[in-house]
């Protein structure tokens, strides 16, 4: 039934976002971009794409930094426009998208403060989608409890943070734990929200979020080998909304090395394929890249094959983010004259 009334509230924005998605760079564009000799060439070519004149008013020489800023600015403008025009429940859905950026920003700021970097420098590195009012005051906190009580309690992330409150100092290990606990809580919450929305949104988004959850579990497991993270602690970090839950996660919790992880994932056809043919040798794609590719091509792009759901908004942001990573990668390769790896971008579509 929801389909019948979807367009009344969200039709305009869905159309808009589908239009934006049409402007995503194609293989041919990438083929042209990698041929560029200088960043000026890149600018010239990118003018002929949907990005248009977004670099036209930049005085002086173009740097990767500037490109990155402008790309982000464009994404934020588009997102803000959508967000400002959104009605419930889409508005909440869009807010959920920004939470993950907020988590990243918090972690970035805390880590930066730990390393005694000035706050202004850190702020400029934060993703503008995840900025919030109290963000810049984060560095006053020295323990998670303080962080929660002083800063985060007013933000939407407060609920996620409850599990991390203890009086220990913020050190790198703890920050990593906080990040993963936050993410876990966030993903589970978002998953629940999408499930509750029901319909096609639940169908599409739960698939994407389940994959995201499993991806995190697997990566956490692999990265935790040879660290001081105990197996019990590790298990607490697994988001419990993926396909791996519960048997797979139990398996992962027991895993001691890469092969055991692989073994656990053998039982899941989707993940089995990703483990096959991945590796660190030259010419092979890393597991992370494989995951990204799966997320992009299989899930986000496929979400556009359905209509009347919110997944397209999520997918748009994620695809655009991947595209920005690609452009920045290519720009970096060009500016550093390091062309051998320039083809390592992940094309969309």
């Amino acid at each position: 039934m929801a389909e019948f009334f979807f367009n009344i509230d969200h039709g305009y924005l869905e159309a808009l976002v589908r239009g934006f998605k049409g402007g995503i760079l194609t293989q041919a564009d990438y083929a042209n971009l990698v041929q560029c000799e200088t960043l000026e060439d890149l600018k010239l070519h990118i003018q002929s794409t949907d990005y248009g004149n977004f670099l036209a008013n930049e005085p002086g020489a173009i740097t990767v930094q500037v490109i990155d800023e402008r790309l982000k600015e464009k994404l934020v403008t588009e997102f803000t426009h959508i967000r400002n025009n959104a009605l419930e429940p889409l508005a909440t859905f869009l807010d959920y998208i920004t939470y993950s950026y907020m988590i990243d920003n918090i972690i970035l700021l805390i880590t930066g403060t730990l390393h005694q970097r000035p706050i202004s420098e850190l702020i400029s590195k934060c993703h503008p989608l995840g900025s919030f009012e109290q963000m810049e005051a984060i560095h006053i906190a020295s323990t998670p409890a303080e962080l929660y009580n002083a800063v985060l309690v007013d933000t939407p992330l407060a609920n996620y943070f409850v599990d991390c409150i203890n009086e220990q100092d913020l050190d790198e290990m703890n920050v990593e734990l906080i990040r993963n606990t936050l993410y876990k809580a966030y993903l589970e919450d978002f998953y629940g929200f999408c499930k509750q929305l029901g319909g096609t949104t639940a169908e599409v988004m739960c698939e994407i979020l389940a994959f995201e959850a499993d991806r995190r579990s697997i990566i956490i497991t692999i990265n935790s080998f040879d660290t001081e993270l105990s197996k019990d602690d590790r298990e607490k970090l697994y988001p419990r909304c993926g396909k791996l839950y519960p048997e797979g996660l139990a398996g992962l919790a027991r895993a001691d090395d890469y092969d055991q992880v692989k073994q656990v994932c053998e039982y899941y056809s989707d993940y089995k394929a990703l483990f096959e043919g991945s590796g660190n040798a030259a010419g092979e794609k890393t597991l992370e890249d494989k995951f990204f590719e799966h997320e992009q091509v299989k899930l986000n792009v496929h979400s556009y094959l359905h209509q009347f759901h919110f997944g397209v908004f999520y997918a748009f942001i994620k695809l655009k983010e991947q595209e920005m990573r690609n452009i920045i990668w290519i720009a970096e390769c060009i500016s550093q004259r390091h062309r051998t790896k320039i083809d390592n971008y992940i094309p969309i579509l």
Binding site: Q35, A56, N57, E58, Q134, I140, E146, D154
Partner: protein, 992 residues
């Protein structure tokens, strides 16, 4: 061969240009001014940044950026930009360097000034903020001071009532630390006053700030200690704060609530914040946008809290300022600040003056510069399309250009070469223009002016004409407004429409200069000549229909006379039951009304509609068939122009025969009936004609013609009696013979249309291949296609034929309705079948004769019998069925005209006429009021809405019914390289 330009598109040829590399730039500049050459991209595989002149393009981009920057700054200062619309020549390449230098200088100067200004402004705003801080803190300290001087009464009076207030707060905060108590000592009085504010609902801005403070001091044990302190420390407020640190600063107003909350949380309530709004609106130094700020002051104790507070301030982008402790110092500082502000103001004023001067100087030229830079850029873009000769000595370009303009182009090239080679003495090789042969279809270039462009757009919206085919725009210029007017015919509404368009035409220069970007206005404005003609023609048809706002004009005096003798009328008053008949037969002597419809019809309530309907329907059919025939004749000229004998013989001739045998014959019948059959009987075409009841029925006649039904000849039987259903009888000698012949010819035309052309094409192809090609299509396929195609006429005709035969055997009644049903049946079947054949045809669409032949023979590569056959089948079906459905479609002329007339009649009777029913003063007022209702509805519904609907129907009649007879519309538009177009496009993009 060379028909005048307006009938067909211009002849366009492909040419090759050899340009000296030194002269290439100037030559292209000249061609850009001329705007008659369309360049082709000779390096389509090279990406945009690998082309030869990419660095120049980039330089232009940079210049454009600087100019945009300048323009932005100029707009920011609201300096009017001089835009004379003058068109400077494209500057020479060396001038580009000058321009670059100028812009560079200007930009740097401006940036420097801006930077200075920004620093100054920043200083200024900092000082202003400091000033506000000093002022606000002063009042704040003074307030406390005052309360300290006369505290006892205030406290005594307030404490009794305020304890109630405090009660619920008592248990809220258990972690009242020592500093909290100290605050209480200081601010105890402040709280009481605030408490009373709250009760009276006073809106002091300080009230909110008291929130945290209020909680801290909610301690019942306050009084004694306060007494002590007041006793001891009466010396003055300022010295009190020696125990505490405080910071003062400025923060954006909207961030205050979050700031306050965070402070409270992070310092566990051990700081005290007061804030007050700055009433002046400050400007953001970076963006110049106005922002509202607030002054705040935070008290705390201890260094730990100090760093923490400072960090929070930093986090909220609050600026902290030093603020001295004692009033004297503050006053002193305040004076210092004021003088510095005054100084800064003068400096700032000077800087702004300087900036203003720079901008005013730039504003005079900036539009002209922009035009120049855009010209340069477009020239280099064009040069990037060229091929560079290996020797680097010349550039090779390919372009489409109108043959007529070749001389002009040569002249332009000569001019360009001369000016380009002026400085580079030595090489004086002229630029060469070479005509090339090509098999590619050239672009379609229709010359137009401001009058014809509207109509050309109507045609082009359907599809750009195939190269050199007949351009229907010229005929559309008359037929379009005319068909519109047939539907819209009303003198009054036509006048309104014409006057509106006339206004747009007369004011066209001013309106164009005003550059109104509104889409709806643009639509009307660009169609002003179309609308004008539509209005004018509507007046004419309104005159024929004798319709002004649904009323008639009796200009020539009605020809109607009363034929009933007065005596009989008298009798009628006595016996109203006896009907009076106005029989047309009795009315013989006078001539018809000289022009248009007799006004008396407007009063004939009973049969006005049946008369007008019959007249309008018949004239619609005549007009429609006339236009279709004209379209068909145009197709002959197309075939002839493209030397397609095959199309003339096997397409045009059978089509024409088909049309004339059925439809033109129908038109002739209509006209004959109008001319010969009147109300009065007599001998018509050799038959005794008893009177109007026997006037031949054309519709039934047409059906009977197809049924080949035997009918009686003449209206009166041999016994002298008028035969029953005499209107269906034959009405001229030899009618059944002629009609049989016509039907047979029409039917015979169908297979000719269907098979002849494919057969001859196939034969010609076979002869060509005889030498040793292979057959494209296998025999089996061929047989299948032919079998399938043969089905079509079988389906079309066999069933009706069999039904007709059976019918004839069974009964000879005059039932002719069944034919209609059968006709409907067969049509439905064909419609069902069409998609199948369509699928095979694939994308041929509306393509007409010339296209298929030109395309097929031009490429000359492969002959696909299946394709040709399917295409032909579609075309034949489309034509044969189209003739019927299109004729019916023209009836919309009648239908819309009827609707229009009825609507305006309704508006008159239901709205305006009511006004005349009133007498006296009331009548005057009602007339006055109702006129506006009537006028408004007339304009909005009848002129705008009905006008739009009639416009769309006229559009459809032209696109579908008229143009489908001859128009291919498979061409592509000529898009010359022209500065005018480029600048206009840039301008529009800028304004969007």
């Amino acid at each position: 061969e060379s028909t005048p330009g307006i009938f067909r598109s211009e002849e366009v040829c492909l040419s090759q240009l050899f340009l000296q590399s030194e002269a290439a730039y100037t030559c292209v500049a000249e061609l850009g001014e001329l705007g008659l050459v369309q360049f082709r991209d000779l390096n389509p595989d090279t990406s945009s940044f690998q082309r030869k002149f990419v660095s120049e393009v980039r330089r232009c981009d940079e210049m454009e950026r600087k100019l945009r920057f300048l323009e932005r700054e100029i707009k920011k200062d609201q300096i009017p930009m001089l835009d004379t619309g003058e068109n400077p020549d494209a500057p020479q390449p060396r001038e580009m360097i000058d321009l670059e230098a100028t812009f560079e200088k200007l930009e740097n100067e401006l940036r420097e000034v801006n930077q200075n200004e920004e620093t100054l402004k920043k200083n200024f705003s900092e000082l202003t903020e400091l000033k506000h801080i000093l002022r606000k803190t002063q009042t704040f300290f003074e307030e406390i001071h005052k309360q300290r001087d006369g505290p006892v009464t205030a406290r005594a009076s307030a404490s009794t009532s305020s304890t109630h207030d405090r009660e619920p707060l008592i248990n809220v905060e258990d972690e009242v630390h020592v500093p909290g108590e100290l605050f209480r000592q200081i601010f105890g009085y402040g709280r009481l006053t605030l408490g009373s504010y709250r009760r009276t609902g006073g809106g002091d801005s300080m009230q909110g700030a008291a929130g945290p403070g209020d909680v801290i001091i909610a301690d019942p044990a306050a009084d004694a200690e306060t007494m002590e302190l007041t006793g001891g420390g009466g010396a003055g407020g300022g010295s009190m704060f020696a125990n505490f640190g405080f910071v003062a600063g400025v923060i954006q107003r909207e961030r205050i609530p979050a700031f306050e909350r965070l402070l409270w949380r992070a310092c566990r309530g051990n700081v005290f914040l007061r804030h007050s709004e700055i009433d002046d609106v400050l400007n953001d130094t970076a963006t110049g946008e106005p922002i509202n700020k607030s002054v705040f002051i935070i008290f705390f104790q201890g260094d730990q809290l100090k760093t923490r507070v400072k960090k929070i301030c930093e986090g909220f982008r609050a600026t902290l300022y030093p603020c001295p402790d004692t009033p004297a110092e503050r006053r002193e500082m305040s004076i210092g600040v004021m003088t510095r502000i005054e100084d800064l103001k003068t400096v700032l004023g000077q800087t702004q003056d300087h900036r203003h001067r720079v901008l005013v100087a730039a504003a005079k030229n900036v539009r002209m510069w922009l035009t120049k830079v855009r010209k340069i850029k477009s020239i280099y873009h064009t040069l990037n399309l060229f091929n560079i000769d290996v020797t680097q000595k010349c550039l090779i370009a390919e372009c489409w250009c109108p043959v007529d303009a070749l001389d002009k182009i040569r002249m332009a090239l000569k001019r360009g070469t001369v000016s380009g080679l002026q400085e580079e003495s030595g090489s004086t090789v002229p630029s060469i223009l070479n005509r090339m042969d090509t098999t590619e279809a050239p672009p379609t270039y229709n010359k137009s002016n401001k009058y014809t462009i509207g109509f050309q757009n109507i045609v082009d919206a359907y599809g750009i004409a195939t190269y050199r085919e007949i351009n229907p725009a010229i005929y559309t210029m008359i037929s379009f407004p005319f068909l519109f007017a047939v539907m819209f015919g009303d003198m009054g509404h036509g006048t309104v429409m014409m006057l509106a368009a006339l206004f747009l035409i007369l004011k066209e220069r001013q309106l164009e200069a005003a550059r109104i970007r509104d889409e709806i206005f643009q639509m009307f404005f660009s169609g002003r000549y179309v609308i004008f003609l539509m209005g004018a023609f509507s007046i004419y048809t309104g005159f024929i229909y004798n319709d002004v706002f649904s009323k008639s004009l009796n200009i020539f005096g009605s020809s109607w006379r009363n034929t009933i003798p007065p005596a009989e009328l008298e009798k009628h008053y006595e016996f109203p039951e006896t009907p009076l008949m106005l029989l047309p037969e009795n009315y013989t002597q006078a001539s018809p009304y000289p022009f248009g419809v007799d006004p008396v019809w407007n009063l004939a309530e009973a049969n006005k509609l049946s008369f007008l309907n019959s007249m309008k329907m018949k004239s619609s059919v005549i007009l429609g068939i006339g236009q279709m025939t004209f379209g068909l004749i145009l197709s002959y000229f197309n075939h002839k122009y493209f030397h397609s004998d095959l199309d003339i013989k096997f397409m045009f001739i059978p089509q024409m025969l088909f049309l004339s045998c059925i439809f033109i014959y129908l038109c002739l019948q209509i006209i004959t009936k109008w001319l010969l059959y009147s109300a009065v009987g007599g001998t018509v075409l050799g038959y005794e004609y008893p009177g109007s009841s026997c006037a031949p029925s054309l519709l039934i006649g047409l059906i009977n013609m197809f049924m080949m039904k035997s009918r009686e000849a003449g209206f009166v039987g041999e016994d002298g009696k008028v035969s029953w259903g005499c209107s269906n009888n034959l009405w001229y000698p030899g009618q059944s013979f002629f009609e049989t012949v016509f039907v047979l010819i029409a039917i015979a035309c169908i297979p000719v249309m269907l098979f002849a052309k494919p057969y001859f094409l196939w034969k010609a192809d076979k002869e060509r291949r005889e030498s040793g090609g292979h057959m494209q299509m296998s025999t089996a396929e061929m047989v299948l296609v032919i079998v399938a195609v043969v089905q079509i006429p079988i389906m079309l005709f066999v069933k009706p034929l069999l039904l007709w035969r059976r019918n004839k055997k069974e009964t000879a009644t005059r039932e002719s309705v069944r034919a209609d049903m059968n006709g409907g049946d067969s049509e439905a079947e064909v419609v069902h079948h069409e998609p199948k054949t369509n699928g095979g045809g694939g994308g041929h669409g509306h393509g007409d004769g010339p296209v298929s032949t030109v395309g097929g023979e031009g490429k000359g590569a492969q002959f696909d019998m299946g394709d040709v056959m399917v295409y032909q089948a579609i075309h034949t079906i489309e034509f044969a069925l189209g003739c019927i459905s299109h004729t019916a479609s023209y009836l919309r002329l009648w239908a819309l005209s009827l609707a229009h007339a009825q609507l305006s009649d309704v508006l008159w009777t239901m709205v305006f006429r009511n006004a005349f029913a009133q007498d006296g003063y009331v009548g005057a007022i009602v007339t006055y009021l109702l006129f506006f209702a009537f006028f408004f509805l007339s304009i909005s519904i009848l002129v705008l809405m009905e006008g739009l609907s009639a416009f769309l129907h006229a559009l459809r009649l032209h696109w579908v019914e008229f143009q489908s007879k001859f128009y291919g519309g498979q061409g592509y538009a000529f898009a010359p390289f022209s500065f005018e177009r480029i600048l206009e496009a840039e301008r529009e993009a800028e304004e969007a």
